[in-house]
Amino acid sequence: MAQQYLALEFIDKSFERGGSRTEVLSQVSLGVAKGDFISIIGHSGCGKSTLLNIIAGLTPATSGVVFLEGQTVEAPGPDRAVVFQNHSLLPWLTVYENVALAVGKVFRGRKSRAEQHDWILHNLDLVQMVHASDKRPGEISGGMKQRVGIARALAMEPKVLLLDEPFGALDALTRAHLQDAVMEIHARLGNTMIMITHDVDEAVLLSDRIVMMTNGPAARIGEVLDVPIARPRNRIELAGDRTYLKCREAVLKFLYERHRFVEAAE
């Protein structure tokens, strides 16, 4: 595991609340190669966000270690940028200023003012949001906000980009557009990306590997599925592709046959 770019080793996480203790994650280990696109899929409440927050350093693991390039992850930082589920743009800043806050902080002393300006516009351009630079988050649609959230995260030049159900709140059409945008950015920049989703098609379309989590409490990694489909991928061509369908079926089987019991309990 030592040679892995990003490595999770025996992560346990339990929350204490008023004397009672809930075990959320149990013995989660995972290695991620540089440039990999990984999806984490599982039923809601199983601990996906908790796992992502542990990688981000926002939540400390109860035990276990996260290594990034051989260094242990102790605290959050811009090398593990997060795209939050509800965009988390600061409403009092414009689109440009939201990205500028991140760029100014990360590249202080490394880029001149003019270079920072170019870099902000470059990243807004990656998600096709330059036209809305001067708008505030309250003035743009949900899909646009999510794009800006992605631009902000990309602008930090993170080693790993963490996406927590980035398209969960969007309509199907916007969602498809953004999936394509993310695939294109991944192809262009070669970032390492870890994305949480509960959408099977999204997972198969975007991922190199799909990490399937068992139901909580004490969720584990149930299975890791390789998605051996060549890139660039096209959602329409893939619709009838045999590998695609097989992967899709495998994930569906995992989620709805082998790990459905909690749904009934909920």
Binding site: A56, G57, L58, A75, P76, G77, P78, R80, A81, V82, F84, N86, S88, L89, L90, P91, W92, L101, A102, K105, V106, R136, P137, G138, E139, M156
Partner: protein
């Protein structure tokens, strides 16, 4: 807040729809009609906004006039007030000896005291509020004390501050300070505690440090709460200044009222009350406006 949002949407939607050309085509033909309609709209706005309070004011004045019209009435009717106090009504910039000053100077003196005390209260209140909002320990240790102290009536502080400062001027300012600070502290603390976890997480991922976090995240996120506190505070300080000045003397609207009472100039008191009310109203609106300007955009996430 939802109203502001609606306004925003309706204000931007014509730009987004991008087809105003058809509407414009009709406009040049009859510009006069557009102007008339515009003037009509403004007039209607004036009528709906100004007419009702004007009517109620006139009705109330009439009732007052009738009630106090008998020669034995203890209070003068409005017509009497006008006659008695004509001097101070028409010459607010009068300059005399000592406390014999026009209404403008009286109000200005009071406003200066309020400005000093209130500014200090705002700064200290926000600082303490941030401390309480950030630190569980500060919250547990200080909140009970503040909850007790804030119920002490403003004037109860006056003898104590007179004893401490040995002088009227700083005592009045202290009373303003101690009156205005509680709502600022309490609301700021609430604002800081209610900063969404999302914003905190953004700050943590970016590793925004103390001062950066304070300026870029905490203040703007808590601004709506802070301004609520500031607005309550300015109202309270205006309430307190009149009472405090009655006791400490000198130029100022409070002592003016007290002086008028001692000289049995009831009409002057009534004129002063109108001034106090109007100034208090504008102070409140001023802070509300400042709040709206500062928190513009924050309301809609």
């Amino acid at each position: 807040m939802s109203v502001a949002k609606l306004n925003q949407v309706s204000a931007t939607s014509p730009v987004r729809s991008g087809t105003p050309a058809r509407i414009l085509a009709f406009m040049p033909r009859r510009p006069s009609q557009g102007m008339v309609a515009e003037a009509g709209r403004i007039l209607r706005g004036v009528i709906t906004d100004l007419l009702p309070p004007l009517i109620t004011t006139l009705v109330l004045l009439a009732i007052w006039e009738v009630l106090c019209s008998s020669p034995t009435a203890p209070l003068p009717p409005p017509s009497r007030v006008l006659v008695d106090s004509w001097q101070i009504i028409v010459d607010p910039f009068y300059r005399g000896q000592g406390t014999d000053q026009g209404m403008f100077w009286q109000i200005l003196a009071s406003l200066q005291r309020v400005a000093v005390g209130y500014t200090l209260a705002a700064i200290a209140g926000i600082a303490l509020g941030v401390l309480l909002g950030q630190s569980q320990w500060a919250m547990r240790g200080l909140d009970p004390i503040f909850q007790v102290l804030r119920t002490v009536p403003p004037l109860a502080w006056l003898p104590l501050s007179l004893a401490a400062f040995q002088d009227g001027a700083p005592s009045a300012i202290f009373v303003i300070f101690i009156t205005a600070i509680w709502p600022v502290i309490i609301n700021t603390a609430a604002g800081v505690r209610n900063i969404p976890q999302d914003y905190r997480n953004v700050a943590r991922v970016l590793r925004l440090g103390g001062l950066e976090y304070f300026a870029r995240i905490m203040l703007p996120a808590a601004a709506p709460y802070i301004f609520t506190g500031l607005r309550i505070g300015v109202g309270l300080s205006w309430l307190a200044i009149v009472a405090a000045e009655m006791l400490i003397g000198g130029v100022g609207i409070g002592f003016f009222i007290w002086d008028a009472w001692n000289s049995s100039l009831i009409s002057d008191i009534i004129v002063a009350l109108v001034y106090v009310g109007v100034v208090g109203f504008f102070l409140d609106r001023l802070i509300a406006l400042a709040g709206r300007l500062v928190t513009r955009g924050t309301a809609t996430a």
